[in-house]
């Protein structure tokens, strides 16, 4: 695996908090590894755990699911359902053998640009150390 291999992380972010946090990281010119590709959804409640499996199938090395802090959701309860869904979905994926560090779920508010930067940096370092994902993946 070449040294400058860059892990590919698919980031599902909710439009009102974590996407705005990513924007704030941009406006504050905080640099972080170019490993994450962001998909905007209205709410973390919109993120179906099956999307995460599809991302790993198609070759993602890591998946980030980001939503608002509990209590702050623009739709008041979206992230609460997301929390329940991903509490059991993440355990099930580990149960199927997926390395736990490849899926991360974080609550990032619209004013936490720095937290978004840290999450991406830590995630990239951890996954870079683990190398590309071989599991559940179509080998093209």
């Amino acid at each position: 695996m070449s040294l400058d291999w860059q892990p590919k992380i698919v980031g599902f972010t909710c439009n009102w908090c974590s996407y705005a946090g990513a924007d704030l990281a941009g406006t504050s010119r905080m640099s972080y590894p170019a490993s994450v590709r962001i998909i905007r959804v209205p709410c973390s409640g919109r993120i179906n755990p099956v999307f995460v499996i599809r991302a790993f199938q198609r070759g993602a090395d890591g998946v980030l699911v980001a939503g608002c802090h509990p209590g702050d959701c623009h739709y008041s309860t979206g992230n609460m359902y997301a929390r329940r869904r991903f509490l059991i979905a993440r355990r099930f994926m580990e149960y199927l053998g997926m390395d736990p560090a490849r899926l991360e779920i974080h609550w990032i508010s619209a004013s936490e640009g720095q937290k978004f930067q840290e999450v991406i940096k830590n995630m990239t370092d951890r996954i870079h150390a683990m190398g590309p994902n071989r599991k559940m993946r179509e080998i093209l």
Partner: protein, 314 residues
């Protein structure tokens, strides 16, 4: 045992005679003298085909979907869970059903009898043992060693009270605690080791969807995995798609699986599907403080939340 069958026959016949049902699903003699198979009766005259079913009795709940209503059904407590599942999923209405509940001492799983089926002439329950009659004479096996998995963790052997007719002969199997040691075993394996195990298991899957058809929780009109667009699941039987199928099936029944094990029994290649479902069931019980996730509730576990759910994501 027979008087329960007589009472059942009378109840079925009277159901038809009183016009309470247009069809009735029960068990009748199978290919082997001791085996039974599902039967859908359409008139009172067929009532004597009814059997109690000592061995390999399948769950009857799912047949209700396509039967002309009002439909009748004989339910053990596991069937009752299946019926309740369908009612909560609004796939059938309680008022369209005529339920006769019977007590159940447990159902024998012939796969657990260490003898090939064709040599068995008859099976008989005697006290706490199963007498297997063969051409060479009877042998005795401890009753609890030959039961179906679901019976080992049976909710309660007594006849379910939510029924139109309750026939309880008092010999119902006492409720037993659920044993998740099988799940702990898998959890203690290393991720790669687990992945290799599931890889080997899923490689066997031929995607016949028998598990979906047998499952009372999988009651959608059209399964989203069959849709061409969006193609959640591609037709290719390759490993990543197997993981996609088994993840999605297990996730869709998470918190709704009644633990009947029909999926595992229906699987032609013998995949340990209950090992997947019961992982979700156990996690739901520990994470969200649900005492028995198999029992259907008005609001399903993933359809609600508690503000102080466990917080693992910072």
């Amino acid at each position: 045992m027979n008087d329960l069958r007589e009472q059942l026959k009378e109840a079925v016949a009277s159901a038809f005679s009183q016009g309470r049902v247009r069809s009735f699903v029960c068990l009748e003699r199978g290919f082997y003298p001791f085996a039974t198979m599902p039967a859908i009766l359409h008139s009172g005259s067929d009532a004597d085909r009814v059997e109690i079913g000592l061995a390999d009795a399948p769950l009857l709940a799912k047949y209700l979907l396509d039967m002309p209503k009002p439909a009748g059904i004989v339910v053990r407590s596991c069937d009752a869970l299946g019926v309740s599942r369908l009612i909560r999923d609004r796939r059938v209405k309680r008022e369209d059903l005529y339920i006769i509940s019977i007590s159940c001492p447990g159902v024998v799983d012939t796969a657990k009898i260490p003898m090939s089926m064709h040599r068995i002439t008859a099976l008989e329950k005697a006290g706490d043992a199963l007498i297997v009659h063969t051409a060479l004479g009877p042998t005795e096996l401890p009753w609890s060693s030959v039961l179906l998995d679901r019976c080992l963790a049976c909710v309660s052997g007594a006849a379910s009270t939510d029924a139109d007719v309750v026939l309880d002969d008092g010999r119902g199997k006492p409720p037993a605690p659920v044993d998740y040691s099988e799940i702990d075993e898998v959890e203690h394996m290393a991720p790669d080791e687990r992945y290799a195990m599931w890889e080997k298991e899923f490689a066997k899957c031929i995607r016949c969807f028998a598990c979906r058809n047998a499952c009372p929780a999988c009651s959608c009109r059209k399964c989203s995995l069959d849709l061409p667009e969006p193609e959640w699941l591609s037709r290719a039987v390759i490993l990543p798609e197997q993981f996609m199928f088994h993840f999605t099936r297990a996730y869709h029944v998470a918190g709704r699986c009644v633990g009947c094990g029909e999926c595992e029994r229906a699987c032609p290649v013998g995949l340990p599907l209950m090992k997947l479902n019961r992982k979700f069931t156990r996690d739901i019980e520990t994470l969200f403080g649900v005492d028995d996730a198999r029992i259907p509730r008005d609001v399903e576990v993933l359809g609600t939340f508690l503000p102080d759910d466990p917080e693992e994501f910072c």
